[in-house]
C-alpha cells in the first residue's frame, strides 16, 4: 500500500490478505454497479425493452448468490485466522521489553535497565515481545509500519510481538481514546542493526531490571516476610515464577506475570494455600514500572523458562 512502509515480518503477509480482499471487493462492486446501471438503462420508463414473463423459480439463483459468497467468506476467514494465530503467538525466544502506558506517555524498560520514554529501540531481525500494562486507563500500542496493535490494560499484562525487518524510524500511536492528550500520546520505534543496537544498549545501560527489583524487594520491605530467614510464615519466592501455585480456595494458578502483579497489588484476590491472608496491598505505594522490576527480579530467582501465554 502506498505510503506505509512494510517494516515487520507480518507486514507483507497482512498486506497480501488486504490486497486480495480489496481486489475481490472491487470485482463485486464493479459487477453489481454494471448490472444495476445496465438494468436502469434498459428498463427505464418508456424504453421498448421486453418485460414479459416473470422468473417464478428464484431458488437456484438465490442459492447461487448465497452459497458462493458463503464459501468465499469461509476461505477468507481461514486465511485470516492462520495469520491471526501467528500474530498472537510470540515465539519462546522473543526478547521481552516492558512497556508501561500512562496518561499520556509510553514508558519503556529494557531488561538491561535501559529506560526510554515515547521511544522504543529494537534490533533488526530479532523477535521482540512487548509485555505491556497501563497505570491508569486503557491505551493501545499501535505501530502502523509493523501492522501491529494491542490494547494496554490497567489490570493485566497484554503482549505484542514482532520482528522488525527494516532499519528506520517508525511512528508509534496510542489508538485507544484515553483522554485529553490522546492525540499526543505518540512516539517512535527505532529499528537498528544488531551491532548498532548492542552499542545503544551499552551506552544506555543502567542497573539491570532484576537488580533494580532486588533493591526494591528490600526497600519496600518484601524481604521482611519473604526472606527464608524471616520469622513470618510467608511463601518462598525461589522458583515461584513459572510454577503452579495451589490456592486457598482449592484451585491452582500458574505463577505468570499477571499472578505476580496481582499478588503484589491485589493480594486478597488469590491467596496461596497454607498461608494466612496477611499480605498488605501495595497498590497505592508502588507504580507499575516498579512492579515490572520486581517481577524481573522474581524471574531471576526462578529456573523456569519465560512463559509465553498463547491464551492472552
Amino acid at each position: 500500500m502506498i505510503g506505509l512502509p512494510q517494516a515487520s515480518g507480518f507486514a507483507g503477509r497482512v498486506d497480501g490478505l488486504f490486497d486480495t480482499l480489496l481486489a475481490l471487493s472491487g470485482v463485486v462492486v464493479l459487477g453489481v454497479f454494471v448490472v444495476m446501471i445496465w438494468f436502469c438503462v434498459k428498463y427505464r420508463h418508456g424504453s421498448s425493452a421486453d418485460r414479459k414473463g416473470e422468473a417464478h423459480r428464484h431458488l437456484g439463483v438465490e442459492l447461487t448468490w448465497t452459497l458462493i459468497p458463503m464459501a468465499m467468506f469461509i476461505g477468507l476467514f481461514a486465511w485470516s485466522v492462520k495469520l491471526w494465530v501467528v500474530l498472537r503467538t510470540p515465539p519462546a525466544d522473543a526478547t521481552p521489553i516492558y512497556v508501561v502506558a500512562k496518561q499520556w506517555m509510553w514508558k519503556v524498560q529494557h531488561v538491561g535497565g535501559q529506560r526510554e520514554i515515547n521511544t522504543l529501540h529494537v534490533p533488526l531481525g530479532q523477535p521482540i515481545r512487548l509485555v505491556m500494562t497501563s497505570q491508569d486507563v486503557i491505551h493501545s500500542f499501535y505501530v502502523p509500519a509493523f501492522r501491529v496493535k494491542q490494547d494496554v490494560l490497567p489490570d493485566r499484562y497484554t503482549d505484542l510481538w514482532f520482528t522488525a525487518t527494516k532499519t528506520g524510524t517508525y511512528h508509534l500511536f496510542c489508538a485507544e481514546f484515553c483522554g485529553t492528550d490522546h492525540a499526543r500520546m505518540g512516539g517512535e520505534v527505532v529499528v537498528m542493526t544488531p551491532a548498532d543496537y548492542a552499542n545503544w544498549l551499552h551506552a544506555h545501560a543502567g542497573t539491570g531490571l532484576a537488580a533494580q527489583g532486588a533493591a526494591m524487594f528490600r526497600r519496600f520491605g518484601c524481604s521482611g516476610c519473604h526472606d527464608p530467614h524471616a520469622g513470618v510464615h510467608a511463601p518462598d519466592l525461589d522458583n515461584l515464577y513459572g510454577s503452579t501455585v495451589p490456592l486457598a480456595n482449592g484451585s491452582q494458578v500458574l505463577a505468570d506475570e499477571r499472578y505476580l502483579h496481582d499478588a503484589i497489588m491485589l493480594p486478597k484476590l488469590q491467596v496461596a494455600a497454607g498461608y494466612a491472608p496477611i499480605m498488605p496491598s501495595y497498590q497505592d505505594r508502588i507504580d507499575e514500572s516498579d512492579v515490572l522490576a520486581l517481577i524481573a527480579y522474581l524471574k531471576s530467582r526462578s529456573n523456569h523458562p519465560e512463559i509465553v501465554d498463547e491464551y492472552r
Binding site: 497482512v14 485466522v81 495469520l83 509500519a145 511512528h171 483522554g179
Partner: protein, 532 residues
C-alpha cells in the same frame, strides 16, 4: 384532490391547539412529534460534525482545544446514535406507517406510544443539559475505567440521558411487536406483510432484547462513578473488559437497529420505483430475521485487540463473516428487482439506489474488519470511522430521507419539488463519498481515530474529507428547505401519487384519524404490481 372523497377530516385537521399535539394518542401525530425532535438533533449533531471537520482541515489542533474537540466528537456520537439514528426510521416512519400498512387503526398501546416520545424528549433534555454544563469527553462508547474514574466531565448527565432514551426504544419495540402480532387486518398473513413491516418487527425484537443490557451497563457505571463500587475499575477490583462486553452486546445489535429499518424502507422504495415485485420475498424476510438473530452473536469483533482471548477472536470472526451473507443476499435481490422493471427515476428511487451502493461499500469493508489479522491494523483507525459512516450515514440516512420523500405526500398531503429532490439525492451521494472514502485510505495508512492533531502526511486526505462534508451539509439543508416550502406551496397530493401498492396508499392523503373507513380485507401479497 382527495377531499372530494373525504368524509372525515384528516389527522392534521383533528385539532390545532398545542394540547391536541402534545396530548395526542394518534400514531401519526406522534410520528410527527418524533420527526421534529429527530430533525433538531440531526442538525445539532451535524453542527458538531462540522466542527470536527473544520478542526481536521489542518494537522495542528488550532480551532478547538484538545478537551473541546474530545467533547465535540463525543456529543456528535451520542446525539447521532441515540437521538437520531436509533429512533429515526422506527419512531417516525415506523410509527406513521406500521398501522397503515397492516390495516390497523392505531398502535396497540397509543398512550405508551406517546409516553415513549416524552421519554425521548426527557433523555434529550438531559443530553442538552450535559452539553450546556460543559459536555462530556468519554467518546460515545463510555469506555471504563476512563469514564468511571478518570473523566472530570459530566458523564452522569450523559449516562442518564442515554439511559432514559433507551426506555423509549424498549417501549416502542414492545408496541410494534404487539401491534404486528394482534392488529393485522383480516387476510394480512405473515408472508403478506410488506418488508418494511418485517424490518420493524425484527428491529422491535432487537430493541427489546438488547436495550435493557445497555440500561444495566449504564446503571453499573453510575454505581461505580458515584459510589465507588468496583465493577469495571481494576483499582477497585473490577474488570474494564467486562464493560466492553456489556456495551457491545447492546451496541452491536444497535447497529442493526439502525440499518434493518433502512433495508425495509429501501425495499418499499425500489418496488414502487421499478413497479415490480421484490425479487425473492421470502429470502428477504429470512435475511432480515437472520441478521437480527446473528447480530446478537458478533459483539466481540469490536474487541479483537482489546485483550480478549485469541480463541474468542476466532469465533467472533467467523460469525461476523456469516452475518455478511444475508446482507449480500439483500443487495443481490434489490439489484435483481430492477430486472424487467418499468423504472422511473424519482427522488425516492435515487435515494434507494444510493443506499444500495453505499451499503454495499460499507458492508464489504466490514469483511476487512471481520478478518482478525486485518482488524489488528484497521481497528481504532479512520478505516472503522469510514466503514460505519458508510453503513449508518450512507445507508441509514439515505434510506430515511428516501422514505421521507416517498411518504411525504401521504404524511403531509403535499407534493414536493421532484427536480430539487433529485438534485439533492445525487449531490448527497457524491458529497458522502467525497467525505468518507478518503477516510478508508487514511485508516489503512494508520491515522488513529479521535485525534485532535495528526501528522502532516495525512492532511491531503483530511482536506478532501472536509470539502466533501461541506457538500454533504448543503445536500442535507436542501431537503429541509424544499420540503418545508412544499407544506405551504406544494401541489396537493392525491391518495396515491406514485400509483404504488400497499394499504397505506388506499387511505386519503393525509389519512383520517382512524386511517381506514372500513377494515380492509387483504387478499394477496405485497408489491402486486402488474406484470406485462
Amino acid at each position: 384532490m382527495s377531499t372530494a372523497e373525504r368524509i372525515a377530516p384528516s389527522y392534521l385537521e383533528e385539532g390545532f391547539s398545542l394540547r391536541s399535539w402534545l396530548g395526542t394518542r394518534d400514531h401519526k401525530r406522534i410520528a410527527i412529534l418524533y420527526a421534529l425532535g429527530i430533525t433538531f438533533f440531526f442538525f445539532l449533531g451535524g453542527l458538531a460534525a462540522a466542527l470536527i471537520r473544520l478542526e481536521l482541515v489542518t494537522p495542528a489542533g488550532d480551532v478547538l482545544s484538545a478537551e473541546t474537540y474530545n467533547k465535540v466528537f463525543t456529543f456528535h456520537g451520542v446525539v447521532m446514535v441515540w437521538f437520531f439514528l436509533i429512533p429515526s426510521i422506527p419512531a417516525t416512519l415506523g410509527n406513521f406507517l406500521l398501522p397503515l400498512m397492516i390495516g390497523a387503526r392505531d398502535m396497540a398501546f397509543p398512550r405508551l406510544n406517546l409516553f415513549s416520545w416524552y421519554l425521548y424528549i426527557v433523555g434529550g433534555l438531559f443530553t442538552i443539559a450535559c452539553l450546556l454544563l460543559g459536555g462530556v469527553d468519554t467518546g460515545w462508547t463510555f469506555y471504563t475505567p476512563f469514564s468511571t474514574m478518570f473523566s472530570n466531565s459530566n458523564v452522569m448527565l450523559a449516562v442518564v440521558g442515554v439511559f432514559v432514551v433507551g426506555f423509549s426504544s424498549i417501549f416502542t419495540g414492545l408496541n410494534f411487536i404487539v401491534t404486528i402480532h394482534t392488529m393485522r387486518a383480516p387476510g394480512m398473513t405473515w408472508f403478506r406483510l410488506p418488508l418494511f413491516v418485517w424490518s420493524m418487527y425484527a428491529v422491535a425484537l432487537v430493541m427489546m432484547l438488547a436495550t435493557p443490557v445497555l440500561a444495566m451497563t449504564l446503571a453499573l457505571i453510575a454505581l461505580e462513578r458515584l459510589f465507588g463500587v468496583g465493577i469495571f475499575d481494576p483499582a477497585l477490583g473490577g474488570d474494564p473488559l467486562l464493560f466492553q462486553h456489556f456495551f457491545w452486546f447492546y451496541s452491536h445489535p444497535a447497529v442493526y437497529i439502525m440499518v434493518l429499518p433502512a433495508m425495509g424502507v429501501v425495499s418499499e422504495l425500489i418496488t414502487a420505483g421499478v413497479r415490480r415485485r421484490i425479487f425473492g420475498y421470502k429470502f428477504m424476510v429470512w435475511a432480515i430475521v437472520g441478521i437480527a438473530v446473528v447480530g446478537f452473536l458478533v459483539w466481540g469483533h469490536h474487541m479483537f485487540v482489546s485483550g480478549q482471548s485469541m480463541y474468542a477472536g476466532i469465533i467472533f470472526s467467523i460469525l461476523s463473516f456469516i452475518i455478511a451473507v444475508p446482507s449480500a443476499i439483500k443487495v443481490f435481490n434489490w439489484t435483481a428487482t430492477l430486472y424487467k422493471g418499468d423504472i422511473s427515476f424519482t427522488a425516492p428511487l435515487l435515494y434507494a439506489l444510493g443506499f444500495v451502493g453505499l451499503f454495499m461499500l460499507g458492508g464489504l469493508t466490514g469483511l476487512f474488519l471481520a478478518a482478525t489479522a486485518l482488524d489488528v491494523s484497521l481497528t481504532d483507525t479512520y478505516f472503522v470511522v469510514a466503514h460505519f459512516h458508510y453503513i449508518m450515514v450512507g445507508g441509514s440516512v439515505m434510506a430515511y430521507l428516501g422514505g421521507i420523500h416517498y411518504w411525504w405526500p401521504k404524511i403531509t398531503g403535499r407534493l414536493y419539488s421532484e427536480a430539487w429532490a433529485r438534485f439533492a439525492a445525487i449531490l448527497m451521494f457524491f458529497g458522502f463519498n467525497l467525505t468518507f472514502f478518503p477516510q478508508y485510505v487514511l485508516g489503512w495508512e494508520g491515522m488513529p481515530r479521535r485525534y485532535h492533531e495528526y501528522l502532516p502526511q495525512y492532511q491531503v486526505l483530511n482536506v478532501l474529507s472536509s470539502a466533501g462534508a461541506t457538500i454533504l451539509a448543503v445536500s442535507y439543508l436542501l431537503p429541509l428547505g424544499y420540503l418545508l416550502w412544499s407544506l405551504r406551496h406544494g401541489a396537493r397530493a392525491g391518495a396515491n401519487p406514485w400509483n404504488a401498492q400497499g394499504l397505506e396508499w388506499t387511505t386519503p392523503s393525509p389519512p383520517t384519524l382512524h386511517n381506514f373507513e372500513e377494515t380492509p380485507q387483504v387478499t394477496g401479497g405485497p408489491y402486486a404490481y402488474e406484470q406485462p
